[in-house]
C-alpha cells in the first residue's frame, strides 16, 4: 500500500504541475471545453484513487469538484468566475493535502467544508487563501521516462558489444595477465550492469493487482453478487511495459469471472456452495515465465452451451464441434464474437471477447490455459515471458541463416532420425509422429524460402507449442541457447507476420526472432479444425531402425549409452545398501544381493541412481549419475582398443558417446546369483561334506546349480564325484567329472586335482558341451 500511496502522490504532483498552465488558461476563458475536460479528468482520477487508498478527505473534495465540473460539462451550469475560483481552490487544496501526506504532516481540515460549500451555485466567492508553504518531503524514488530506460538498455548492449570486440582483438595476440585480469573485471562489471539495468524495467505485479479489490467489489455489487477476493504473489516482478499490456486482459478476465462464472447468491445456495463467491488471483514465477492464475469457484464453462451458441450463430458446423476433443471444446471460449452469457450485461458484454484477451496476451509472447471444472469453477492461467526485452532463446539455423526461437515456446528438440520419430506426407502436408503424438510439420526452409543445406545428421525438429496446439518446426541445425535482448522490428519486417522482433547477439550480426504463432498461421495450420482427428489417436509405433539405447551420465562424468534391451529399470536406492563384500561391490535390493558396478566415486550420503541390467538370467546393478535420454544408436560403432567396460564409441548428435559393453559387464560381474535354466551339477558321494563346503561356492559362482540329490524329473548336467568310482554316479545319463586328492595324475586318469580351480571349471564346461548341452 505504501508503494501505491507513493505512486499516487508522485502522479498527482506531476499532473498538478502539468495542469497549472491549464488552470490559468481556464481562469481566463472559463467556457473552454478542452481545459474543462483536463481539470475534470484530474479530479476524477484523484477521486478514483482516493477510494481504494482510503483518503476520505481528498475523496470528499474531489468528489464535490467533480460533480460541479460534470454539471458544467453537460451544460447544466455555466462556469462563472465564482465556480472557477471554487474549483481552483479545491485543486489547490488537493495539492496541499498531497504534500502533507507525503511529508507526514497534518493539515487543518476546517477549511474543507467551506471550500465545498463555495462550489454551490450562487455561493460567495472564496477568498484565495495562502496556506504557508509546506515542506516538500525529499522523495526516495524518481519517475523516469521509458525512453530514457531504453536508451540505457541500448547503451548497455553497446557496451557488451564493445567488450566482445575488445576481447576478440586482445585474444588475437599475446595477452598480458594484467590486461587479462582487467578485461575479466570489465566483463564482470558489464554483466552486473546489464542485470541491474534490466531490473530497472521491472515492476512489482502489485501495480496490476492493487486496483483489483476495489474493482471486484464494485463489479460484484453491481451484479448483486458477493465475491471475496484473495490475492497472492503480488511481489513478483514483471516488465513495466508488460504490466501495462496485461492490465486490460486481466480486468476483462476478472469481470468475466464475476459476471459469467460466479453465480448469484440464490443459485449458489442451491448448488450447495457458500453465498460468497471466491476469486483467487495469484502470480508466481516459474522458470523464465510468470504465471498469473485467476481461479473462481463459479459454474465453470458450459461447453454444451458454447457449442450450441457457435453452431446457432452459423459460424461453425455443430458436427465438427462435437468431434473436437474436450480441450479443444473448451478452447472455443476464445472464438471471436462469442459471449457465453445469453444476455449482454453492462459489465462484460461490451463486444470484447476472450479472443481479444488471448490475442493481446499472445502479442507479448504469452499464452492462456484453461482448467475447467463444470459446476465447480474455472481456473485460467496466463503464462507470460519474464521480460519482453530479454528472453532466453534457442538459435536455429536454416541454410545460411540463423533465427532465434523463444525457448519458452519449445517443448523439446528431437532429431528427425531419432527413435520413435516418423515423418509422413498426408495429402501434401507433412506430419510428424513423435512417440504417440502426431503433429503438423512446418519446414522452416520452405516456409521462408531459404535453401536448406544437406546435412549428414538429418534435420532437427523443434516441437513448438503455441496456445492452440503444437507443431514441429523442421530446421537444419540447432545452434545455441542464448539470452537475447529483443527489440521490436520495423513495420517492414513485422508485416511478414513471421517475426516477433529483432536482436543483436554478441556476434554483432542482427538476427530475427521467429513468431511461433505467426508461422503456424502463415503455414495455414488450423489446429481447431483438424486437431480432433489428428492428435488424440494413438497409433501403433513404427519399429525404429537401429538399436535403442539409454543415454546416461556416468559417475566419472562420461556420457555413456547402454542398449535399452538389457535395462530392466532405473531406480533410486539408498547408498547405505551398497557394501563392499566378497571382493566386490554389492547392493541389497528387494531382499536380494546384486553385484554392483560403479565406474567412479559416488556420494555415500545420497540416494543413488541405479540401472538394473538384465541379460535374461543374471542381473547386475550399475550406478550412474543420471539417466539422460533414450536414443537410437547409429549403425557405425568404433570399437574400443581393449576389452573393458566400453565396447566402442558412437556419434550421437555430433558428440562422442561411449557404449557400455554389456557383454564385458556381465562377464565380469554377473554370474553368482542366476536363476532359471542353470546347469545342474550333482555332487555325488559327498560323504565327508568336503565338496559341499569347498567346491559348492565355486560352482555356484560359476553359475551352476549345485545339488546333492536330484528331485524327481530333474536331470543333472554334470556329475561331480570324489576319487573313487562311485556307484551312485553310474546309471546317470550325465557326464562325470572326478576329483582326485593328489596333485599329479596317473597316466590315463581324466580326473581333476581338486584344488585346480580353472581346471575343474573348464572340465565341467567341456563335459557338458561334449554331452550336447546342459
Amino acid at each position: 500500500m505504501d508503494d501505491l500511496l507513493q505512486e499516487f502522490i508522485a502522479e498527482t504532483r506531476e499532473t498538478l504541475e502539468a495542469l497549472s498552465g491549464e488552470i490559468v488558461a481556464w481562469e481566463s476563458s472559463p467556457d473552454d471545453k478542452s481545459r474543462l475536460d483536463a481539470i475534470f479528468r484530474f479530479v476524477h482520477t484523484v477521486k478514483g484513487s482516493c477510494g481504494f487508498l482510503d483518503l476520505p478527505r481528498l475523496g470528499r473534495l474531489s468528489h464535490a469538484a467533480e460533480d460541479v465540473l460534470a454539471q458544467a460539462r453537460s451544460g447544466d451550469r455555466f462556469p462563472d468566475r465564482a465556480m472557477v475560483n471554487a474549483v481552483l481552490a479545491i485543486v489547490d487544496r488537493i495539492g496541499e493535502l498531497v504534500e502533507a501526506i507525503d511529508s507526514g504532516t497534518s493539515l487543518d481540515d476546517s477549511g474543507d467544508e467551506l471550500l465545498i460549500a463555495a462550489l454551490a451555485e450562487g455561493a460567495e466567492e472564496v477568498a484565495q487563501t495562502n496556506v504557508p508553504g509546506i515542506q516538500r518531503a525529499a522523495s526516495r524514488s524518481v519517475r523516469l521516462n521509458v525512453e530514457l530506460l531504453d536508451r540505457m538498455m541500448s547503451g548497455m548492449s553497446d557496451m557488451v558489444l564493445a567488450r566482445n570486440e575488445l576481447a576478440r582483438r586482445l585474444r588475437q595476440g599475446e595477452i598480458e595477465p594484467a590486461v587479462e585480469a582487467a578485461l575479466e573485471r570489465l566483463s564482470l562489471t558489464v554483466g552486473e550492469m546489464r542485470d541491474t539495468v534490466t531490473r530497472t524495467r521491472m515492476q512489482k505485479i502489485d501495480a496490476l493487482f492493487s486496483a483489483l479489490p476495489r474493482m471486484v467489489r464494485d463489479t460484484a455489487a453491481g451484479l448483486g453478487k458477493s465475491v471475496s477476493l484473495h490475492i497472492d504473489g503480488a511481489d513478483v516482478e514483471l516488465d513495466r511495459e508488460m504490466i501495462e499490456v496485461m492490465r486490460d486482459p486481466l480486468v476483462h478476465i476478472i469481470r468475466n469471472a464475476i459476471d459469467h462464472g460466479i453465480e448469484g447468491p440464490a443459485d449458489r445456495r442451491q448448488a450447495g456452495k457458500r453465498e460468497n463467491g471466491r476469486l483467487i488471483v495469484s502470480a508466481r514465477q516459474s522458470g523464465n515465465q510468470i504465471i498469473i492464475e485467476i481461479a473462481d469457484d463459479g459454474r465453470g464453462i458450459d461447453v454444451e452451451r458454447l457449442i450450441k451458441k457457435l453452431s446457432a450463430s452459423g459460424a461453425r458446423n455443430e458436427r465438427d464441434l462435437r468431434a473436437l476433443s474436450e480441450r479443444q471444446k473448451l478452447d472455443l471460449v476464445f472464438e471471436p464474437g462469442l459471449s457465453s452469457k445469453d444476455e449482454v450485461t453492462d459489465v462484460s458484454g461490451r463486444g470484447v471477447g476472450m479472443d481479444v484477451v488471448k490475442s493481446s496476451i499472445e502479442q507479448i509472447g504469452g499464452r492462456v490455459e484453461l482448467d475447467n471444472a463444470p459446476g465447480k469453477g474455472l481456473r485460467l492461467a496466463i503464462h507470460v515471458p519474464l521480460t519482453l526485452s530479454i528472453i532466453s532463446a534457442i538459435v536455429v539455423g536454416v541454410g545460411k541463416q540463423r533465427f532465434a526461437v523463444s525457448r519458452q515456446a519449445i517443448e523439446e528438440i528431437v532429431t528427425e532420425r531419432g527413435e520413435a520419430i516418423r515423418i509422413d506426407t498426408i495429402g501434401g502436408a507433412q506430419v510428424v509422429t513423435v512417440r504417440d503424438r502426431r503433429l503438423p510439420m512446418i519446414d522452416l526452409g520452405s516456409l521462408l524460402g531459404v535453401p536448406r543445406t544437406q546435412s549428414e545428421t538429418g534435420q532437427m525438429l523443434a516441437i513448438v507449442s503455441v496456445s492452440d496446439g503444437s507443431y514441429a518446426l523442421s530446421v537444419d541445425t540447432v545452434l545455441d541457447n542464448e539470452e537475447l535482448v529483443i527489440k521490436p522490428a520495423s513495420p517492414a519486417v513485422m508485416s511478414t507476420g513471421l517475426y516477433a522482433g529483432q536482436t543483436l547477439p554478441d556476434s554483432g550480426l542482427p538476427m530475427l526472432l521467429l513468431d511461433c504463432a505467426g508461422m503456424a498461421h502463415a503455414a495455414h495450420l488450423d489446429f481447431t479444425r483438424n486437431a480432433g482427428h489428428a492428435y488424440d489417436e494413438v497409433e501403433a509405433e513404427e519399429v525404429a531402425k537401429g538399436l535403442p539405447a539409454l543415454l546416461f551420465c556416468d559417475l566419472d562424468g562420461v556420457r555413456r549409452a547402454v542398449p535399452l534391451g538389457i535395462v530392466d529399470r532405473v531406480e533410486q536406492v539408498d547408498a547405505q545398501s551398497v557394501r563392499h563384500t566378497g571382493g566386490q561391490l554389492r547392493i541389497a535390493i528387494e531382499g536380494r544381493i546384486l553385484p554392483l558396478v560403479a565406474q567412479g566415486d559416488y556420494d555415500e550420503t545420497k540416494r543413488l541412481n541405479v540401472l538394473r541390467l538384465k541379460d535374461g538370467e543374471s542381473e547386475v546393478a550399475y550406478v550412474i549419475d543420471e539417466a539422460m535420454d533414450i536414443v537410437v544408436l547409429p549403425e557405425e560403432i568404433v570399437p574400443a582398443r581393449a576389452p573393458g567396460p566400453v565396447a566402442g564409441v558412437v556419434l550421437l548428435d555430433g558428440e562422442q558417446v561411449e557404449l557400455l559393453d554389456a557383454y564385458w559387464v556381465f562377464g565380469e560381474y554377473a554370474g553368482n546369483e542366476g536363476e532359471g535354466a542353470q546347469p545342474i551339477c550333482l555332487l555325488a558321494d559327498d560323504a565327508d561334506g568336503w565338496m559341499t563346503s569347498f567346491v559348492r561356492p565355486l560352482l555356484e559362482g560359476a553359475g551352476y546349480r549345485v545339488v546333492t540329490e536330484l528331485d524327481t524329473g530333474e536331470r543333472a548336467s554334470v556329475v561331480l564325484s570324489g576319487d573313487a568310482e562311485v556307484e551312485a554316479a553310474k546309471g546317470l545319463a550325465a557326464p562325470l567329472v572326478r576329483l582326485r586328492r593328489r596333485k599329479t595324475a596317473k597316466p590315463g586318469d581324466d580326473s581333476i586335482y581338486r584344488y585346480d580351480r580353472a581346471g575343474l571349471l573348464s572340465a565341467l564346461e567341456d563335459r557338458i558341451a561334449a554331452n550336447g548341452g546342459r
Partner: protein, 142 residues
C-alpha cells in the same frame, strides 16, 4: 527559403534529400536477409548496437536492383531506423524547393516519392521524401 539538401545518386539519377530526414550516412556491412519480407527490404544490418532495416532504394522506386550499393542514408521514421541504399553521395548544399510543375510525367514510384524540385547550377533535381520509400510507411505518407 533555402534549406539544406543532400544530393545523392540513385539509379544513376541525382536526387535531393531533405537533410532533416538524414540522421547519418554510413557504409553498410553484412546484411541479414529477411525471408518473406517485401522485395525491396534488403535485410537487417547492425550499426553499433542499433539494428537498422536496410531498404533497397532502387527497387523501392520500381527499378532494377543493382544489388551493389553499400552506402546508405540512415533515417529515423516512427521510432525505427532505416538505411536507404544509394549509389553515391555528391553534395550537401542549401537549395530552394520549387514545386513540381505540372506536366512532368514521372513514373509512379518517383511520383509518390517526389516532393518538388531543386535547381543545381541550372540542373533540376527531384527532391524525394525518404519516408515514402520505406515499406509500411509508404501508405501513410500521403
Amino acid at each position: 527559403m533555402a534549406h539544406l539538401y543532400l544530393i545523392a545518386q540513385i539509379a544513376g539519377r541525382a536526387v535531393a534529400i531533405d537533410s532533416n530526414q538524414v540522421e547519418s550516412v554510413v557504409d553498410i556491412g553484412e546484411v541479414t536477409a529477411i525471408p518473406r519480407a517485401a522485395e525491396h527490404v534488403r535485410g537487417l544490418a547492425a550499426l553499433r548496437s542499433r539494428v537498422v532495416t536496410v531498404v533497397d532504394t532502387q527497387s523501392a522506386l520500381g527499378l532494377e536492383s543493382s544489388g551493389e550499393a553499400r552506402r546508405a542514408v540512415i533515417t529515423h521514421i516512427d521510432g525505427h531506423h532505416y538505411a536507404l541504399l544509394v549509389d553515391a553521395l555528391e553534395d550537401v548544399a542549401p537549395f530552394d524547393l520549387l514545386p513540381l510543375a505540372g506536366g512532368f510525367a514521372l513514373d509512379s514510384a518517383w511520383r509518390n516519392a517526389g516532393r518538388g524540385i531543386v535547381e543545381r547550377d541550372g540542373e533540376p533535381i527531384l527532391a524525394i521524401d525518404l519516408a515514402s520509400l520505406v515499406p509500411g510507411h509508404a501508405v501513410a505518407a500521403e
